[in-house]
Symmetry: none
């Protein structure tokens, strides 16, 4: 069973609103074991919606058309579907009655335009509207089908779960369940990771039911994500297969795997700091508070985060953190900043970052030169030099995850 998504709306093509509906539908189709090979966006133009529907029907079994069911002249998905079906639109009295009732319930008068929302292609069946005024449609075209759902996300989602996905699953027979798990890594180049995982990916490609597949995705400042996906008969079976494969991948990648699914580096560090009953302090120069702001986004951060001294001006490094005179982009400054943060903030462990975000050089150092310092009990205060690629924003983001990763390594191995 193959289904496509057709998102309708000129504002999507112009980039005025993000097409989150297609992503949501894609995720739900995958979870239902239904393949989705193409997703298309098209504007509010009758000829082009018809063309896009025909193109999609030629290569898939079902099309989910999303949007263009509103009351205005721009909303022409109903007409386009009727054209593709080769039938007329007929105003449905029951649907019209429901629309009137919805307006009455809100104490408003129904505009004449809204009656258009009761137009149904002959041969289509109606998905009752429970939230908005637009009903959905199930429109058979030969042995294939077009579904029409509203573009308003929560109306669309409700209708998908209640009517479209169940109908698709029924048409597909008894589909297998597809589950996936993502391992998040930091510290390996994409090519190194490819070499380590290559043989395993090839071995798994032989395939079969219950055998997972592996893929990885370079995610920039979030590192590289390794995705494990499996088709299985039940959630329990899927979970077992994913857990077994996760263990194998972790053997190949070691402790470069810092998190699973939505777990961030800052959350991983937080768990380790909290586990020791410590509080973390920061001294930030080039990151300018970015490290702190990512940390406070972790739920419960107040239990393990003291605060940060954002010492952007050199004078502040000296006066608040007691950084000695000399270049502020240096190993020595990074060490002094970490030690200063530990002291001033009354923290148990402290990270610091100083460097050149760019675009200009500083202290004779090129953009991307960054020094990260770490002060913690039972070790000498240390600092390392990094060379990071990219623009200002990217250098800052890379600095944050690199610094947190350094602390994580020390805590994992300690």
């Amino acid at each position: 069973m193959r289904a496509e998504v057709l998102a309708v709306g000129t504002e999507l093509l112009l980039g005025q609103i993000a097409d989150t509906n297609s992503s949501w539908i894609g995720e739900r189709l995958a979870a239902s074991g239904i393949d989705c090979h193409f997703q298309t966006r098209v504007g509010d133009n009758a000829g082009r919606i018809v063309l896009a529907l025909r193109t999609a029907l030629a290569r898939s079994d079902a099309v989910i058309a999303c949007g263009g069911l509103g009351p205005t002249q721009d909303d022409i998905t109903r007409e386009a579907i009727a054209t593709v079906m080769g039938v007329e639109l007929v105003r449905d009295a029951v649907v019209l009655g429901r629309i009137r009732t919805l307006f009455d319930a809100r104490g408003r008068t129904m505009a004449e335009n809204n009656a258009r929302q009761a137009d149904v292609p002959v041969g289509a069946s109606v998905i009752e509207q429970l939230i908005g005024t637009a009903p959905g449609l199930i429109c058979p075209v030969g042995d294939k089908v077009i579904y029409a759902v509203p573009g308003v996300p929560y109306e669309m989602e409700e209708m998908m779960e209640r009517a479209v996905l169940p109908d698709l699953r029924k048409r597909a027979g008894e589909p297998a369940l597809i589950a996936s798990r993502t391992l998040r890594t930091w510290g390996l180049a994409e090519s190194t990771l490819a070499e380590r995982l290559g043989p395993r990916i090839e071995a798994l490609a032989e395939g079969g039911a219950g055998v997972p597949t592996l893929a990885f995705l370079a995610s920039g400042i979030e590192g590289i994500k390794v995705r494990l996906t499996v088709k299985a008969a039940s959630a329990l079976e899927a979970d077992d297969a994913l857990s077994a494969e996760e263990a194998r991948v972790r053997q190949l990648l070691g402790d470069t795997v810092f998190g699973v699914d939505e777990e961030t580096m800052e959350a991983a560090v937080g768990a380790l700091v909290l586990g020791r009953g410590w509080r973390l302090g920061l001294a930030e120069s080039l990151t300018g508070g970015l490290m702190a702001s990512r940390i406070v986004s972790v739920p419960g951060a107040s239990r393990w985060f003291a605060g940060s001294v954002v010492a952007y001006a050199s004078e502040v490094k000296a006066s608040v953190l007691s950084v000695p005179p000399g270049p502020v982009v240096s190993l020595e400054a990074a060490e002094a900043m970490a030690a200063g943060a530990l002291d001033v903030l009354g923290a148990d462990v402290a990270l610091s970052a100083t460097g050149v975000a760019g675009p200009d050089e500083q202290d004779g150092r090129p953009p991307g030169t960054v020094f990260v310092g770490l002060a913690m009990p039972g070790r000498d205060t240390e600092a390392v030099e990094l060379r990071l690629p990219g623009d200002r924003e990217r250098v800052r983001q890379m600095t944050v995850i690199s610094a947190l990763s350094m602390l994580r390594s020390r805590l994992v191995r300690a």
Copy 2:
């Protein structure tokens, strides 16, 4: 001239990452006067990428294929384009040399896989890679063209602006120029803004060449944006029309207009602080460094920004900022924090923020309760209470722009 976007990547279809690239490209195409009628997403499958490219070429003059240029076995956009062109891939020695140089510069060894990124379809020309390792491609197909750009957003955006959009504009001849300007406002409700602008929007809707149109867009934590758009024969003509309309809109909206186009509230504040030869200091609790990190994103911030004390733990508020004992979510604490930041950071003006981001209440105050303090020369230190809607992240972002807006108002009116 019609161009389509083809976003390549199975992770897009599965809804694992959002397809922001297509939206960005759509917006840039519109601004260049190039029609974009369809956008398609396809997975990492050779046959289906070829099919999607052929479908797109059949109905448009140009296709921008985005993604699938990486070094792994999944990355097959190059192969698919060569198939559509009916040519071989040849490894390009110059491109390969550049990839090696990029790895050398980072002190890393190039994996054998990366050499695939130097494969170029015969007859295609290369868009040099300035950031990542993947070059872009310009691939003629009869009198049409396929562009290939990387899927990493900042690599893609740089290559689009430098090479693809200029090439498209050249092919399009002299398109009617569409120019727009965005006025950014903060502090008016959407309905108030609608009332003030309504008559003008209606008057302009009569239209005609050289007559701008007005639209506004509620942009959440960025306030409400008023967009002026005009079609004109030349950039000069467009600029005149936009400037005249901007003056009218500013009369209607007063100093709630804080910036133009990409100018942020933090940049607007920076210009005012720098104009006085001052330096700004911050004391942040619930915003956790977010205010500082937004400020250091402003180019040249080091000339007017001293730093921030992120006093997340109550002990830090007391020890570093000398906040007196008592509830830390209060007018008194906000005032003490601002005064403390002025003193500790040696700043000329200081902002503070303390409050409840949620989800739990604190000091008996519900989530969204925020106090913002302001200390500056020649005025008593002051603080105001805000009630902000939304989740943790939204409350933090609203706090930042509200605090900066408060400072801006004082400086504009002083």
